[in-house]
C-alpha cells in the first residue's frame, strides 16, 4: 500500500517518539486521580460493608435488558441527529449559521426531567401539541434522551468536521464521486474517532440518566439505584447495584477498545480554508426546515411549557422570588468547572494521541471512571472519600469542582483528542527542530491545534454542570443553592410556577456565555 494522505501512520520500528517526554504521563496521571476517586471509593465501600441484593435476580435481568435497549437506541439516534446538526451548521451556507450552531448545542443544558416534563405536557389528554396518549416507557424515554443528548455529539463533531482537510474531499469530488459518496467514503471515516467519542458520551450518559426515565416510568438500572438510595438509610443495596452498573460500563469500554480504529489521518499538508457549501432550492429549504424542527422540539417546546406555567402561576398571584443568587452561583461554578476540566483533559488527550500504545489505552479507558455512574453514586462515594481521607475538603466548593472534573472529564478529553489526532505531530517536531523549546512549542503549535477541541470540551462541561443535580446536592457547601436545585425542589413540592421560572432563567443564563464562546472560537 503506497503511503498517501489517507493511510494510517504508525510509529516506525526503532524510532522513539520523544514528544513531550514523561512529563505528560505524570500530568495525565494527576488529571486522572479525580476520575478514579468515585469508583475506587465505591469499591472500598462495598468491600468494607459487604453487598446485599435487594432486587430479585429476575427483575435484575429485566432492568439490564431495559437499560441496554435504551442505551443502544438512544446512541444511534442521538449521534445521527448530532451529526446532522453539526454538519449543517459547519459546512452549509445558512443565514445566522453561527446562531444555529449555538442553538443546536443549547438543549444539553435542559435537565432531563424538565425535558421529560415538556414531552408530557406536549402530549396526553390536555396536550399542548397533540392529543395523543403520552408515550411513557421506552418510546418517550428514547425520544427525550435522543433529542436532548444530541448536542453531546454535535459539539464533539464540530471540531472534527472543521479540521478535515478539504483537499481529501475535493480530490474525491474531482474523481467524480457524488456528494453523498464523498460524505460516506471520505468524510465519515475521518470522523470515526469523533463519532466513537460521541457514541461513548451519549451511551454512557444514558446509562446514568435518572430524570427522564423516572418521569417517563421506564425501569432502568439507574432508576432502581436512585430508589434504593432515596428510600433506604442502609447504602449497601444501592452500592451493590452501582457496582454492577460500573461493570456494565467497563464491558462497553472494553468492547470499544477492542474495535477501536485509531486512524490518525495527518495529511501533512497545510490546511486550506474551506468555502461553505451553497445550497439552493429544496436541499436548502430542507436543511433549514430540519434545523428549525429540531430547535423547536429541543428548545422551543421546553421554553413554551415553562413560560405557560409561569404565566398561569403569575395570574394566580404566585410569587416567584429572586433567582439572581442561584443564577450567579450556577454560572460561577459551571465556568470554573469547565476551565478546570479542560485543563485536566489536556494532558490526558496529549498522552492518548501522541503516545499511542497499550498504556495510553488504559489511560483513555480510565478517564471514563466516573462518567457512567449515576451521579448520586458518584456523590455518595465522593462524600465517603472526603469523610474518610480528606476531611478539610468536605463540603467545600473546591472539592465540588474537582468532582465535576472527575465526572465530565471525558467530555472535554474526547473533543480535545479529536483535534489533536487530526493535527500532524510533525508540526510539533518541526517546531522543536527549528530550535523552539518545549514550552514555546506547546504554546505556539500544540495549543492552537487543540484549541477547537478545548473550546468544544469547555462548552460541553459548562452545560453539563449548569444542570447537574445529585452530586451537587451531596457535595455542595451549606447554603450553596443552584438553579438546578431550585428547579428540583420546587417541582417536588408542587410549586410549579417557581420551578418553571427557574428553568427559564437556567436557559437564559446559559445561552449568553455559550454563544460568545461558540461564535468566536468554533466558527470560521
Amino acid at each position: 500500500m503506497t503511503a498517501g494522505p489517507l493511510t494510517a501512520r504508525q510509529p516506525e520500528v526503532g524510532q522513539i517518539r520523544r514528544r513531550g517526554g514523561w512529563g505528560w504521563w505524570v500530568a495525565a496521571g494527576v488529571a486522572l486521580l479525580p476520575a478514579l476517586i468515585p469508583p475506587v471509593s465505591l469499591l472500598f465501600q462495598v468491600i468494607g460493608t459487604g453487598t446485599t441484593l435487594a432486587v430479585p435476580p429476575g427483575r435484575l435481568a429485566e432492568l439490564m435488558l431495559n437499560t441496554a435497549m435504551l442505551t443502544v437506541a438512544v446512541t444511534i439516534t442521538a449521534v445521527t441527529i448530532g451529526l446532522a446538526t453539526a454538519w449543517t451548521t459547519t459546512r452549509v451556507a445558512l443565514p445566522f449559521r453561527k446562531g444555529w450552531m449555538t442553538l443546536a448545542a443549547l438543549p444539553l443544558v435542559v435537565p432531563s426531567y424538565v425535558a421529560a416534563l415538556s414531552l408530557i405536557a406536549a402530549t396526553g389528554p390536555s396536550g399542548v401539541i397533540v392529543e395523543s396518549p403520552t408515550p411513557y416507557g421506552f418510546v418517550g424515554s428514547w425520544l427525550v434522551l435522543s433529542v436532548f443528548t444530541a448536542p453531546l455529539a454535535h459539539l464533539t463533531l464540530i471540531p472534527g468536521l472543521r479540521t478535515i482537510d478539504p483537499a481529501t474531499e475535493e480530490a474525491a469530488t474531482g474523481l467524480g464521486a457524488s456528494r453523498w459518496r464523498v460524505f460516506a467514503t471520505v468524510t465519515l471515516p475521518q470522523l470515526k474517532p469523533a463519532l466513537v467519542s460521541s457514541g461513548l458520551l451519549v451511551g454512557l450518559y444514558t446509562l446514568s440518566d435518572f430524570g427522564a426515565v423516572s418521569l417517563l416510568r421506564y425501569d432502568t438500572f439507574t432508576r432502581a439505584i436512585y430508589t434504593l438510595y432515596r428510600g433506604q438509610i442502609d447504602r449497601r443495596p444501592s452500592a451493590t447495584l452501582s457496582l454492577i452498573l460500573m461493570a456494565l460500563a467497563i464491558v462497553i469500554l472494553l468492547v470499544e477498545r477492542r474495535y477501536r480504529a485509531r486512524v490518525p489521518l495527518h495529511s501533512g499538508r497545510p490546511r486550506r480554508e474551506r468555502p461553505l457549501l451553497s445550497l439552493s432550492g429544496w436541499p436548502r429549504a430542507a436543511s433549514i426546515s430540519a434545523l428549525t424542527l429540531y430547535i423547536m422540539l429541543a428548545l422551543g417546546l421546553p421554553l413554551a411549557v415553562m413560560a405557560v406555567s409561569v404565566f398561569r402561576g403569575l395570574e394566580s398571584e404566585q410569587i416567584v422570588g429572586s433567582l439572581g443568587a442561584e443564577a450567579v452561583r450556577s454560572l460561577g461554578v459551571a465556568i470554573v468547572a469547565a476551565l478546570v476540566t479542560v485543563i485536566l483533559a489536556f494532558p490526558v488527550a496529549m498522552v492518548t494521541t501522541r503516545r499511542p500504545g497499550r498504556l495510553s489505552g488504559w489511560v483513555e479507558s480510565a478517564m471514563w471512571g466516573a462518567y457512567s455512574l449515576p451521579h448520586i453514586t458518584v456523590g455518595v462515594a465522593a462524600v465517603g472519600f472526603a469523610l474518610a481521607s480528606a476531611r478539610s475538603l468536605y463540603q467545600t466548593l473546591i472539592y465540588l469542582v474537582i468532582i465535576y472534573g472527575a465526572i465530565f472529564l471525558p467530555q472535554a478529553a474526547g473533543a480535545t483528542q479529536d483535534s489533536l489526532v487530526r493535527a500532524s505531530p510533525e508540526l510539533e517536531d518541526a517546531s522543536r527542530g527549528l530550535g523552539r523549546g518545549p514550552v514555546a512549542t506547546l504554546m505556539r503549535v500544540t495549543l492552537p491545534l487543540a484549541w477547537p477541541g478545548l473550546v468544544a470540551g469547555a462548552a460541553l462541561v459548562f452545560l453539563s454542570v449548569m444542570k447537574e443535580l445529585p452530586a451537587t446536592l451531596l457535595l455542595r457547601p451549606n447554603g450553596f443553592e443552584t438553579l438546578a436545585i431550585r428547579i428540583w425542589s420546587s417541582t417536588a413540592e408542587g410549586f410549579i410556577t417557581r420551578a418553571s421560572a427557574a428553568g427559564l432563567v437556567l436557559l437564559a443564563v446559559s445561552i449568553v456565555p455559550l454563544f460568545l464562546v461558540m461564535s468566536r472560537e468554533l466558527s470560521d
Binding site: R217, A224, T227, N478, S489
Partner: protein, 327 residues
C-alpha cells in the same frame, strides 16, 4: 470578560467557604425544602438575631449523611420531613427538655424525646370529583379491582415508604407484602412524586391516587385543582397515617442555646400558623387555627402507630416495595 470571571469565582468561593468554624451560625440540616420553610427561617433570623446556615436536601439522604459524618458533624439541628429519617438519626440527637416535649401530643414525638413533630402531614386518597369509582373506606379497598389502572402511586417517594413502614408495624411483613402485591397486580400508575399524581387526577387522567393531603391545596393555590378532592380513609388504619415533620437537636452541637431557641420558634404560634396558612399542614400545638379546605386534625381517624419504630423498618419497607415489582 476575565475580570468578570475572576469576580464571580472569588465571590462564589467566599460566599460559601465560611461557616465551617465552630462558633458562629446555627447549622441546620433541613429535609424540608427552601420553598416551604425559607421564609420561616428568615423570620427566625430576624427575630432572634441568630445567623442560620442551612443545608437543604432529602430527609433520608440527610439522615444517611449525618450517620456518615458521625459525632464530628457540624450540624446543630436536624429538621426533617418525616419521622423515619428522624428516627434513623435519633442516636446522634439529644433529648429535648420536658417543657418542649409537652407542647405536642405524645403520638407526634419520639418516645425517648429525641425529636418532636412540628406539623402534621396526612395520607389521603385524592380523587377526581367526577369519578364513579367507590371511595375506599379501608386501605384494603384502595387495591380493589374496581380501581385497576386508575390509582396513582409514587413508590419511590419518602411519604409512601413511611406509609409502607407503618403498615409493617400495623400488620407485619407478610400482611404488607400481600397488600403491595395486590397493589402491583392492580395495574397502578406510577409517578416519581406526589404533585404529578394530583395534577393527573385533576385533569381526569387518573381516578385518584395515594398522596399527602397538602398537594391538592397547593395546586389550588396555583389556580388549578378544582376537579379533585381529598378523601380521608375513615377506618383508622394506615390509610390515614399522620406523618409529622419534625426537629431534633444534635448531641454534639456547639450552639445548644441557639438550637433550643430554633426548636422553640418552630413550636410557637407564629411558625405553627405559618404551617397552617402557607404550607397547608396541620399545626400540632393547641390554640392555632386549622388549615382551610380540610377537616381539623382531631376529626381525622389517624391510626395508632408508634412513630419511633418507623426508622427500624424503613429499609425493609423499601425492599418489600422493590420485591413487589413496584420500582
Amino acid at each position: 470578560m476575565t475580570g468578570a470571571l475572576a469576580v464571580m469565582v472569588v465571590s462564589t468561593a467566599c460566599g460559601a467557604g465560611d461557616g465551617s468554624e465552630a462558633e458562629g451560625p446555627l447549622v441546620v440540616y433541613s429535609g424540608r425544602s427552601e420553598e416551604l420553610v425559607g421564609p420561616l427561617i428568615e423570620q427566625f433570623e430576624t427575630e432572634s438575631g441568630i445567623g442560620v446556615e442551612i443545608r437543604y436536601g432529602e430527609s433520608s439522604e440527610l439522615a444517611a449523611t449525618l450517620l456518615a459524618e458521625g459525632e464530628e458533624t457540624e450540624a446543630d439541628v436536624f429538621f426533617a420531613q418525616d419521622p423515619a429519617s428522624l428516627g434513623a438519626a435519633a442516636g446522634l440527637m439529644a433529648s429535648l427538655p420536658e417543657e418542649t416535649l409537652e407542647l405536642v401530643d405524645a403520638r407526634f414525638r419520639d418516645r425517648d424525646g429525641s425529636w418532636i413533630g412540628t406539623s402534621g402531614r396526612v395520607r389521603v386518597v385524592v380523587h377526581n370529583t367526577d369519578t364513579d369509582l367507590p371511595l375506599p373506606q379501608t386501605i384494603d379497598e384502595a387495591v380493589d379491582p374496581a380501581w385497576a389502572g386508575q390509582m396513582g402511586v409514587a413508590p419511590t417517594n419518602g411519604s409512601f415508604l413511611a406509609f409502607v413502614s407503618a403498615m409493617i408495624l400495623e400488620r407485619g411483613e407478610d400482611g404488607t407484602r400481600a397488600w403491595l402485591e395486590a397493589l402491583a397486580a392492580n395495574d397502578p400508575v406510577e409517578f416519581d412524586g406526589n404533585a404529578p399524581i394530583v395534577e393527573a387526577t385533576d385533569t381526569g387522567e387518573l381516578g385518584g391516587g395515594l398522596v399527602n393531603h397538602y398537594y391538592l391545596l397547593r395546586l389550588r393555590a396555583e389556580g388549578q385543582g378544582n376537579n379533585a378532592e381529598n378523601h380521608f380513609i375513615p377506618a383508622g388504619d394506615v390509610g390515614s397515617l399522620v406523618m409529622p415533620a419534625g426537629v431534633g437537636i444534635m448531641t454534639n452541637t456547639d450552639s445548644p442555646e441557639a438550637a433550643q431557641e430554633f426548636v422553640d420558634f418552630l413550636l410557637a404560634e407564629e411558625a405553627q400558623t405559618f404551617f397552617a396558612t402557607e404550607t397547608f399542614e396541620f399545626p400540632l400545638i393547641d390554640g392555632v387555627p386549622q388549615p382551610d379546605g380540610v377537616p381539623p386534625l382531631s376529626e381525622i381517624a389517624a391510626p395508632d402507630i408508634d412513630l419511633s419504630e418507623l426508622a427500624a423498618v424503613l429499609d425493609l419497607a423499601t425492599r418489600l416495595v422493590a420485591e413487589a415489582g413496584l420500582v
